[in-house]
Amino acid sequence: MKDAVRTTGLFKRYGAQVAVAGVDLVVPAGSFAGLVGPNGAGKTTTLSMITGLLRPDGGHAEIDGFHVWRDPVEVKARIGVLPEGLRLFERLSGRELLLYNGRLRGIPKAEAERRAADLLQVMDLADAADKLVVDYSTGMRKKIGLAAALLHNPSVLFLDEPFEGVDPVSANTLTEVLRGFTASGSTVIFSSHVMDLVERLCDWVSVMDRGHIVAQGPLERVRAGRSLNEAFLELVGGTRTGESQLSWLGRRDEP
């Protein structure tokens, strides 16, 4: 099977601190992939470098076989991105935001309008379509961001923490849309802290810790009979906190 994403020795440092220390991320085409890791593991930095938003200090990344930094036209036409945070054009309405995105990528206006209307309907944003994004709630912003990332029908979708701060109803809408998207042969890569969610959605998992990929492969192989949460804690060494620490916590001295 062809790889949708392949990086080799991707490296980034900020001053003395190494954020990503040579990441070899592989995601087969058509998979629903989860990138998991504790805070500060370098997930966001990695995704930013693969999507061309951040210049790596070393290594390279390929999407559908195209070099991210040498073939930007090919790569940018193929990817959809929902970066960390909710940075959108705040003073456009949801509909205008989608239209702007589509037309900036050369989709004719009529077609962009049709797709925008479809996406707004599916994302349950039809009522808020003509309100300014600045007044949207977190869940609405994630949904409009995902709609914008899907509008040009990318083959690989990068989502940084798409479910963070999203209510269960919106989260359900998001997963439905994403499942349909991968079922058609496209690839989704998303980063998350929520192991249950990754376990439920993904068929491919990459585990990052302190700038490295510590495990990668099909979900079943990575978790090897355990729950993903147990496997994850074992991989990143999350069981270090012994009982001797925090001994004061919860203790109430009688007066």
């Binding site: 036209v73 456009l92 205008e96 900036l104 300014l132 949207y136």
Partner: protein
């Protein structure tokens, strides 16, 4: 005392934290520091010079200045609200601090910093200006400290009582546009000075007569008086400070327990606009439509455009009345208007800021970036050209040089084109973050003041330099070169845009990082 130290340290740490790991920020901070030291030194020196004036004039001057300080202290932090975490009571709401300690702490935090220190030094200059004798200096020192405390407490009182409104989106929008008021306020003295207002000393005396009874006026007068009357005046000022502090603590109490008022979202119209229907469908039309919408809806755009218009109008009116007649004035003013309009676009990606990634992931080639810039330029021209025509017509009619109107418009178009071309280059070479909320001190994120300064100075120098081939022949009376100006401008725009697209596409990630600084 521990609270004082804690909050002073907190503020200093926040200042230091803003600088960490970024050479540009450090340079920017050094720049701010140098400017503040210069301002403090010069302010102190000028205050000291007041001593050379006749005693009554000196007292009047200090009274007016003290009142202006108080006014500045109460209004300017309002513009800067949100840039300084130590000043927003909501940030501290969850800590178990009694209100009095919180008040002491926030008072300390607002007194700590480069600009408060500079302002205190300038205020101390009043001692040099007015005080005489040991008693005078003692009372004067007390008066200066009281005036400083009054400024701090008054500024805290205003920001705290408005903090609820300032946190809501609409409140911030309104306040951002209110920044225009500040711009106007600073232009007002210019206008007054240009119009003959009679004897300036009498004017000063009249103002001081009234302002003398304001708290800051009392403090200033007390320094000059230096006797028992001065002491009584200081007692009154101290009372005002205590009263303001009490009111502040009350409003602080309220601000800590009142939640943000949410505002219902309004819908926008769905029509796509005339421009969009006229332009051929494609990325260019998309960018132009978006930019025009942003100019209408984004308060920061409204502020910069409105102030450009106001500044040009002020100049037009002040020169129009009694300047030299003939085509020179309309031509010069329209050219200057063109410069001001294009200054708005010398950091084209700044207002997009953190949302620029949407363009970055869509634009895959130099051509794409060039189209993006062209869209921004077209939108700027659609708004800017009518302004320039209006300036040309108004100044032409006012100076009786109606014959110069056509020449003026042509020159204005030329300068506009040059400015857009130069602005495109500065946008990609020296990009910087425009804060969500404009404030009166700087148009850049903390630590990026230096870039903002370099960007606008560079753009201005570039425009002036490239305008020389037009301006020099005109100075020798060869007006026909005006006819070439629009073509020259267009060429400059195209070349500048191409160059910018080439440089900018290669350093898109760097531009993205520069305009997405946290503010």
């Amino acid at each position: 005392m521990t609270t004082v130290r804690l909050f002073a340290e907190l503020k200093l740490r926040l200042l230091a934290g803003n600088l960490r790991g970024d050479l540009e920020r450090k340079l920017g901070f050094v720049f701010t520091l140098v400017v503040a030291v210069l301002a403090a030194g010069a302010g102190f020196f000028l205050m000291g010079l007041i001593r050379l004036a006749p005693p009554d004039v000196a007292a009047d001057l200090v009274i007016v200045l003290f009142t202006l300080f108080l006014l500045a202290w109460t209004t300017l932090p309002l513009m800067a609200f949100g840039l300084d975490d130590t000043l927003d009571p909501a940030r501290l709401a969850l800590f178990p601090l009694p209100t009095s300690r919180l008040a002491v702490g926030m008072f300390t935090a607002s007194a700590t910093g480069v600009w408060p220190a500079a302002s205190l030094i300038v205020t101390v200059g009043a001692l040099v200006a007015l005080a005489s004798g040991i008693g005078g200096f003692l009372i004067g020192t007390l008066a200066v400290l009281l005036q400083f405390a009054l400024c701090l407490v008054a500024s805290r009182l205003v920001t705290t009582s408005l903090s609820g409104a300032l946190r809501s989106r609409r409140g911030r929008d309104v306040l951002a546009v209110a920044a225009i008021g500040a711009v106007l306020l600073f232009q007002l003295p210019n206008l007054l000075l240009n119009r003959d207002m009679g004897d300036p000393v009498a004017l000063l005396h009249g103002a001081a007569q009234v302002l003398r009874w304001t708290p800051s006026g009392l403090a200033a007068h007390a320094i000059a008086d230096g006797g028992w009357a001065g002491l009584a005046e200081l007692a009154a000022v101290a009372l005002v400070v205590v009263a303001a502090a009490w009111l502040w603590i009350k409003s602080l109490n309220r601000a800590l327990v009142t939640t943000d008022a949410s505002n219902p979202a309004a819908s926008v119209r769905r029509d796509s606009g005339l421009v969009d229907r006229l332009l051929p469908d494609g990325p260019l039309a998309a960018v132009v439509t978006k930019e025009l919408k942003y100019m209408r809806r984004e308060p920061r755009y409204r502020v910069v455009w409105f102030s450009a218009v106001v500044l040009t109008a002020v100049l037009a009116i002040s020169f129009g009345g009694d300047g030299p007649s003939g085509p020179a004035v309309p031509i010069a003013l329209t050219a200057f208007g063109g410069l001001l309009v294009t200054m708005q676009l010398c950091n084209a990606f700044g207002i997009d800021g953190r949302s620029l990634w949407m363009n970055a992931v869509a634009i895959g080639s130099e051509r794409g970036l060039s189209v993006d810039l062209a869209g921004r330029h077209l939108a700027g021209a659609i708004v800017g050209i009518p302004i320039l025509v209006a300036v040309a017509v108004v100044t032409g009619v006012l100076t009786g040089g109606a014959g110069g109107i056509v020449w003026a418009v042509l020159t204005g178009l030329g300068v506009l084109g040059i400015g857009l071309g130069v602005g495109a280059v500065t946008s990609v070479v020296i990009p910087y973050t425009v804060p969500e909320r404009l404030n009166a001190f700087t148009g850049a994120a903390p630590g990026q003041g230096g870039q903002a300064f370099a960007s606008s100075m560079g753009a201005m120098a570039g425009v002036v330099l490239l305008s020389l081939p037009l301006l020099v022949p005109m100075l020798f009376g060869l007006l026909w070169v005006c006819a070439l100006a629009p073509f020259y401008g267009l060429a400059a725009e195209v070349l500048g845009r191409r160059l910018a697209a080439r440089i900018g596409f290669a350093r898109m990630p760097e531009i993205l990082a520069a305009v997405s600084k946290p503010v």
